[in-house]
């Protein structure tokens, strides 16, 4: 797993490449904790995310809860069909804000 961060329109974008599973999720958790400490608008770039298991979903749920409590927002974009399928099965597609593209995720709409 590789994680990189950038900003666009005062949104902190975190790109996660590879997998979010039981092996890699602690690292993703640590990286997201660092971003969440300093940012309220966060977007996750999943363009290069290969697959996600429940360990990865737990990290996302934790981040969503933290941002919701602090009045921030969490948006996701670039999900491949397999990641989207996991989101639909788990119900995460209805509780997290998923956008098709980065432009839509960092826009005001």
């Amino acid at each position: 797993m590789e994680i990189s961060t950038r900003t666009s329109n005062d949104v902190h974008i975190v790109a996660i490449a590879g997998s979010m599973d039981s092996t890699t999720s602690p690292e993703a958790q640590k990286a997201l904790d660092g971003v969440l400490a300093a940012a309220s608008k966060v977007a996750l770039d999943f363009t290069q995310l290969d697959y996600i298991s429940s360990a990865g979903l737990r990290v996302l749920l934790g981040a969503a809860k933290t941002l919701r409590a602090s009045g921030g927002s969490l948006r996701l974009f670039g999900l491949n069909p397999s990641v989207r399928e996991v989101f639909e099965i788990s119900g995460f597609s209805t509780i997290l804000a998923v956008y098709p593209t980065e432009a839509e995720a960092v826009g005001d709409g």
């Binding site: 997998s19 599973d21 039981s22 092996t23 290969d50 697959y51 996600i52 298991s53 429940s54 360990a55 979903l57 737990r58 749920l61 934790g62 969503a64 809860k65 919701r68 491949n80 069909p81 397999s82 990641v83 399928e85 996991v86 099965i89 788990s90 119900g91 209805t94 509780i95 997290l96």
Partner: protein, 149 residues
């Protein structure tokens, strides 16, 4: 043509990583469609993480085995472990309709496995717990087409 591999992960704390690496090489060598491979990656992670964190009390090293088999139609993952009879699939499905702040953390893994696989079954065989997961290759090809479009 039939291909496959078998890997003993025992009580190795990095058993999940080793199984992932073995499966990644196998999937690449046999050009398993991305959608099928990813579903298998998720199932493998859920079951091994579950086994290695909860199911290994008193287990002897080498008694957890991951088997993978591929033919023209399907990929079959077999997870064999020693220990008292235990069927993880009997655990109830979580409520996925709850809002984000009402959700208990976790409990989703086996639900994902059941939904992502085409067939999942538990058997007690020769004093061992055997989980068999089947994913048809046809579903994965469809998944790839969606991605290309």
């Amino acid at each position: 043509m039939r291909h496959g591999f078998e890997l003993c992960v025992g009580v190795d704390p990095d058993g999940v990583g080793k199984a992932n690496a073995a499966f990644a090489g196998f999937a690449e060598a046999h050009a398993i469609p991305a959608g099928v491979r990813r579903s298998m990656n998720v199932a493998l992670d859920e079951l091994l993480a579950n086994e290695l964190s909860h199911g290994n009390a008193g287990r002897q090293a080498g008694s957890l085995t991951v088997g993978m088999e591929l033919d023209q139609e399907r990929v079959v993952l077999t997870l064999t472990s020693e220990g008292p009879p235990f069927d993880p699939l009997r655990r109830a499905a979580p409520d996925t309709t709850l809002p984000v702040d009402k959700r208990p953390v976790g409990g989703l893994g086996l639900h994902l496995v059941r939904e992502l696989m085409d067939e999942v079954r538990y058997e007690r065989r020769n004093g061992q717990n055997v989980l068999v997961l089947v994913k048809l290759l046809a579903g994965g090809q469809q998944n790839d087409q969606v991605e290309a479009g």
